[in-house]
Symmetry: C2
Subunit: 213 residues, 2 copies
């Protein structure tokens, strides 16, 4: 069995679906979490700067597999999904999972703008403007798309009749939205809960570090 080592900040964010997938597959892994104190702008630790320097693109998450470093969260999760057979059953299902995750990635640009506005110390008014005009607009559009896909597919999963990595990506973000009081769509709360209650995930989710996002 290869050694798997995902490295990310001490949050869920773009690494959590990979951690979830490793738990579902029952594969032991070294869960490297860089504490937020080490990455504060202007006060970054030597250790963090060295780790960052060694990543392929100067960014996290990175997944090391027997020392081979894979950057970019979607590439990481797709890689694991392929290994453990959660990419979808046909080339068409696989393409549909890829498309949903890329649509998610596009929407996340608006989420990123909102979070950075908050963290970057912008005025209340500016934050509200970005929240209302950029983030909420994109969020509503994206969540409607996810709702429509689930309604049409009817299996309780986004693609085909079983779990794919796209479910982990989307469900974990819905959980984040819930934490931020930004999720008001009942069918999507139920969908998130359904994924979160999978027998292979329940224990991990109950025991994992509690993080807002």
């Amino acid at each position: 069995m290869p050694s798997y080592k995902p490295t990310y900040f001490d949050g869920r964010g773009f690494a959590e679906p990979a951690r979830m997938l490793l738990h579902i597959a029952g594969v032991p892994f070294e869960d490297v979490r860089i504490p937020f104190e080490e990455l504060m702008p202007g006060k970054q630790s030597e250790r963090f700067l060295e780790m960052k320097e060694k990543t392929p693109f100067g960014r996290f998450p990175v997944l090391s597999v027997d020392g081979f470093d894979i950057p970019q969260s979607s590439a990481i999760i797709r890689y694991l999904a392929k290994k453990f057979r959660y990419t979808g059953k046909t080339p068409e299902e696989q393409a549909w999972a890829d498309a949903i995750v890329d649509q998610f990635k596009d929407y996340m640009e608006s989420f990123r703008q909102f979070i950075y506005a908050q963290r970057g110390g912008k005025s209340e008014e500016e934050i509200k403007k970005i929240h209302d005009e950029v983030f909420v607009t994109a969020k509503e559009k994206f969540l409607e798309e996810i709702e429509r896909i689930l309604e049409k597919n009817r299996s309780g999963y986004l693609i085909g009749d079983g779990l794919t990595w796209a479910d982990l990506v989307i469900a974990d973000h819905l959980y984040t939205l819930g934490n931020l009081k930004e999720l008001e769509v009942k069918s999507l709360e139920e969908y998130k809960e359904r994924i979160y209650s999978l027998p292979e995930l329940r224990d991990y989710i109950q025991g994992r570090p509690q993080k807002e996002m």
Copy 2:
């Protein structure tokens, strides 16, 4: 043989690597190009609005394969690359191709901002600011990454010892940068030229509609 029908605007943009891949594979396809006159804001044609309404996410490109619609450019090209064996030879090569294309997608957000600033009628000064501070900064970082990958890999391709879909995505964007007088890295010009001169592509590239981007 399934029927392949990519639909996009009458440019290269996010659809061209898929068209190139179909040509490399020697597969006939219906190349649907929506003229720009039909998509002018405020003057969009009925036909365009109907086509857009029918896409999975209200956006182009979409690839129809025997009537099954795949949205999102990376999902489309990866799907074709999988069918015709241009994804990379091992799961690790495939993950690396995925990661490079996702890194490209992140950088393209800055390119998009620059192009939209120009098209959105912003002042010269604002356009220059976005060009210099957003686009060029991101471009230089991204091109350095691509240079480093090519230097390290030594085969003339980004990944392994043969052509992958990532080469088509990157080379076609380098061609766009060249058209815009935004490419001043000799080794990358040579790389672009190498991909563009592949025997399976040469004829298509010489005969295809000439588009700036």
